[in-house]
């Protein structure tokens, strides 16, 4: 019986190790075939912004790796609407994350779902395990 895991990402992608660590745990955890979803809120929404440039920071730009999540069958990615709007961002500013739906003749579908803070609270309520990064 698989458990419902939610990884909550609240921090900016660089400056701390949280974002990268979370992503690595998600990729490793994906091998265990649990019901995995990811939430991005507060400064965590910056993790999914497209066109990241890290040369000046001297660290690896790991944002292309989010695009591999679909291959790992991680395709429920919730982005909190209020956090996005407070930072002057919209869905168009984020990486286009997709997956192929096995049950729908491998049709390509969007992984990102925009949710309100209230909806996200309900999603959290429904989990067996919530891991916060």
């Amino acid at each position: 019986m698989s458990k419902r895991f939610l990884y909550v990402n609240r921090k900016a992608p660089y400056g701390t190790i949280y974002a990268l660590e979370s992503l690595e745990v998600v990729l490793i955890g994906a091998a265990f075939e649990q019901d995995v979803s990811l939430a991005f809120l507060d400064d965590g929404v910056f993790q999914l912004v497209k066109g990241q440039q890290t040369d000046e920071l001297g660290v690896k730009n790991f944002s292309p790796t989010y695009k591999a999540l679909g291959d790992y069958d991680v395709n429920k990615i919730y982005v909190e609407k209020e956090s996005l709007e407070a930072r002057g961002l919209s869905l168009d500013d984020l990486l286009p994350l997709t997956y192929e739906d096995e049950d729908d003749d491998w049709a390509e579908k969007d992984s990102i779902k925009l949710v309100s803070a209230a909806e996200l609270a309900e999603i959290m309520e429904a989990q067996d395990v919530v891991l916060s990064f």
């Binding site: 690595e24 990729l27 490793i28 994906a30 091998a31 730009n61 292309p64 790796t65 591999a68 291959d71």
Partner: protein
């Protein structure tokens, strides 16, 4: 640790993975393969090149389950299965092929 290729010393970690991905070339790949006891055929190169492209696009070496699925999609079902990949890389396609491709050890590979 280091690997000698064409008179040059190439830095590798204790498990034989390249320290610097930019050092990679086909001669180095062949040298690593030799250490692994493998003769590189076209079929081996196909997987190694696939991994390098995957890394360029996603910045990770895929887990073996993902590698199998993606190879199947790109190179055909007859190649996207563990039997085919393990015949080419007996010590594990992700681990061994990634090493030859000059990539880091796959995330989640213990």
């Amino acid at each position: 640790m280091a690997l000698e290729v064409n008179g040059k010393s190439i830095a590798v970690d204790e498990e034989g993975y390249l320290e610097n991905r930019d050092d990679w070339n086909m001669d180095i790949a062949k040298a690593i393969a030799k250490e692994e006891g493998l003769d590189m055929t076209d079929a081996h190169w196909e997987v190694v090149n696939f991994l390098r492209e995957y890394y360029d696009e996603y910045q990770i070496a895929p887990a073996v389950r993902v590698l199998t699925k993606s190879i199947g999609k790109k190179l055909g079902k007859d190649k996207g299965n563990s039997k085919y990949l393990y015949e080419l890389f007996p010590y594990g396609p992700a681990k061994q092929a990634c090493k030859i491709a000059g990539l880091p050890k796959p995330t989640g590979c213990v």
